[in-house]
């Protein structure tokens, strides 16, 4: 275990929207009660001004940093969250919650439907990115935080960041959308749809009612394999696998000859152990519905004093830099204080989880300025 981590962390749970006060959703339906799984790292200061909300991507969860008792895998963004790290837990209070629709402790299609006593399955209402953000807002209110110092996330996490500023601009001092976009493009929707079709074509899916049986493992694994291809780049795959074989020679069978095949199968098999297939369907659909293009992002009548740090990666072809630049263009038109950096990386979309040093450098100083204002600038010798 490394020294500079937040240590042993326990996931916490917050339940709200109990009947008859169910949460109205964008699709017109209501959902309640809702439980959010969340974790916090560091300490909330006296005036509650140091809270940072980390929002996760498609397959993420509330466990962003540190370790769970008895497990040796650190949280998904442990390299960025901890003492002295980009999100310095000595200074800031970091919150990460599992999205609604998820399957890691928050209410989702695998949760028990109170009216039937059985898992929701496809009776779970369709949720959107805006719904996820409204749920997070309830958690932030519950924690007694009036204004977040920062909302940060990559990929689908970036959608939530952009949605936060759109839905609750006065609640966010700064926003860091990473490797993300104002809307899902047809190419991104297409990849999601192939993944969903893979799940739904698996006979084990049973129209979503598989909870008494086993998961549609084959379909979900294929969906994840496709996902992993889109998260890498041509160059990172060449570097990681090239044409290397698992054994000395070709098998001349349909077994895994190449390392890249083995890797994808391993990733797929691992994923079905930890992720619910229906959650996968719901969340990818929420991503596809996401569209803050036109005037929807920062509506004209709203004044935004949120500072932005927009980050993209050169080899990311799933969320290409031009999509981040589109966000930047909107910010320019509205005179929003913003910084944009396209980090040189060969890791593709995965870079937001991997390129720690560059992101740390940008985020650390950006947060410093947001937290301390120009005082920190004045302290910088000239």
């Amino acid at each position: 275990m490394l020294e500079n981590n937040v240590g042993i962390i326990e996931t916490q749970y917050f339940t709200f929207a109990e009947p008859p006060n169910e949460l109205p959703l964008e699709c017109g339906q209501k959902l309640g009660s809702i439980t959010l799984a969340y974790e916090t790292y560091g300490h909330l200061n006296k005036d509650k001004s140091n809270a940072i909300l980390v929002v996760h991507a498609l397959s993420g969860d509330a466990h962003a940093a540190g370790f769970h008792k008895g497990y040796k895998d650190a949280g998904w963004w442990d390299a960025m969250i901890g003492p002295g790290k980009a999100f310095d837990t000595e200074k800031y209070f970091v919150i990460c919650s599992n999205i609604i629709g998820g399957c890691k402790g928050s209410t989702g299609p695998s949760s028990i439907n109170p009216t039937t006593g059985k898992p929701y399955a496809l009776d779970f209402p369709m949720i959107t990115i805006a719904d996820m953000v409204v749920a997070q807002k309830h958690l932030i209110d519950y924690l007694g935080i009036d204004k977040l110092l920062c909302v940060v996330g990559g990929s689908m996490g970036g959608f939530q960041v952009l949605q936060w500023v759109t839905s609750f601009p006065e609640k966010v001092s700064s926003a860091i959308p990473i490797a993300t976009s104002l809307k899902h493009s047809p190419q991104q929707i297409a990849f999601d749809e192939v993944g969903r079709q893979a799940v739904m074509a698996d006979p084990d899916w049973r129209e979503g009612n598989y909870y008494e049986f086993s998961q549609p493992e084959k379909g979900l694994a294929v969906a994840r394999m496709i996902g992993h291809i889109t998260y890498m780049s041509d160059q990172s795959m060449e570097e990681k696998f090239s044409r290397r074989l698992k054994d000395k020679d070709y098998s001349f069978k349909f077994s895994t000859d190449f390392e890249v095949e083995g890797y994808l199968r391993y990733r797929g098999d691992n994923f079905v152990k930890r992720f619910d297939a229906n959650s996968y369907l719901y969340i990818t659909k929420a991503m596809d519905y996401f569209d803050l293009s036109g005037d929807k992002f920062i509506p004209k009548n709203k004044i935004i004093d949120t500072r932005f740090l927009v980050i993209a990666f050169k080899s990311d072809w799933l969320y290409p830099a031009y999509q981040s630049e589109e966000i930047v263009r909107k910010l320019k038109v509205r005179h929003v204080d913003a910084t944009y950096c396209e980090i040189k990386s060969t890791y593709g979309h995965d870079a937001f989880l991997v390129e720690v040093e560059e992101q740390t450098h940008l985020i650390k100083h950006f947060l410093n300025k947001t937290f301390y204002g120009y005082d920190v600038v004045r302290g910088y010798g000239i």
Binding site: Y340, Y374, V376, I382
Partner: protein, 197 residues
């Protein structure tokens, strides 16, 4: 602040910019000038810079900067978005200088342009007597390794403004140590112009 330790062109621009102005610096480099303006003049500053490492330096200073080239970085800004647009030591590196100046004049009320003077005496002598592309204090690069795409003199810039109907509000001619008052096109290393539509 040790004012004399600051680069001469930065000192000149610092004196030009009014307190609390909105400033856009095109090709802001490490952000030294913007930092000076933000810190000492309480200016609301924004930079545009192409070099990734320079962006890290800017963010370290608490500055806001866009990773972009100058040629394509301005079109989204509404007219007169800034009190000053600065093009200091970057005009000679842009592909479409005329377009960039016109765009800068559109988004800024005033544009501050600083550039090395190609007609500086030493440059003339190098070309005339040695028959070699000039290398001077303000034009320090060899022909094969220079970011400069274009070479202009103080007189060139003045006639450009005249031809385009651009108003020259102020002109500063900078030598090695200070302002050059006598025959600037021959004796100035750098020039700083304040122009407007």
């Amino acid at each position: 602040m040790v004012f004399n330790a600051i680069r001469l062109d930065h000192r000149i621009i610092y004196q030009i910019v009014e307190p609390q102005s909105r400033v856009l610096d095109l090709g802001c480099g490490d952000g030294d000038l913007l930092f000076l303006l933000a810190k000492e003049k309480n200016a609301k500053v924004q930079g545009i810079e192409l070099d990734e490492q320079a962006i890290y330096k800017c963010v370290e200073k608490g500055l806001s900067v866009f990773h972009s080239d100058i040629d394509s970085g301005l079109s989204e800004y509404p007219d007169q978005s800034f009190d000053y647009v600065i093009l200091n030591q970057s005009l000679q590196e842009v592909k479409r200088a005329d377009f960039v100046i016109q765009e800068a004049l559109r988004v800024g009320k005033k544009v501050i342009v600083g550039f090395p003077n190609f007609a500086f005496l030493k440059a003339r002598l190098m070309l005339f007597f040695r028959g070699k592309a000039p290398i001077t204090k303000s034009l320090p690069y060899s022909w094969h390794d220079t970011p400069n795409l274009r070479f202009l003199s103080i007189s060139d810039f003045k006639s450009f403004c005249l031809g385009k109907g651009i108003k020259i509000l102020q002109a500063y001619n900078l030598g090695k140590r200070g302002i050059v008052r006598f025959w600037p096109n021959l004796f100035a290393l750098n020039a700083v112009f304040v122009i407007s539509k």
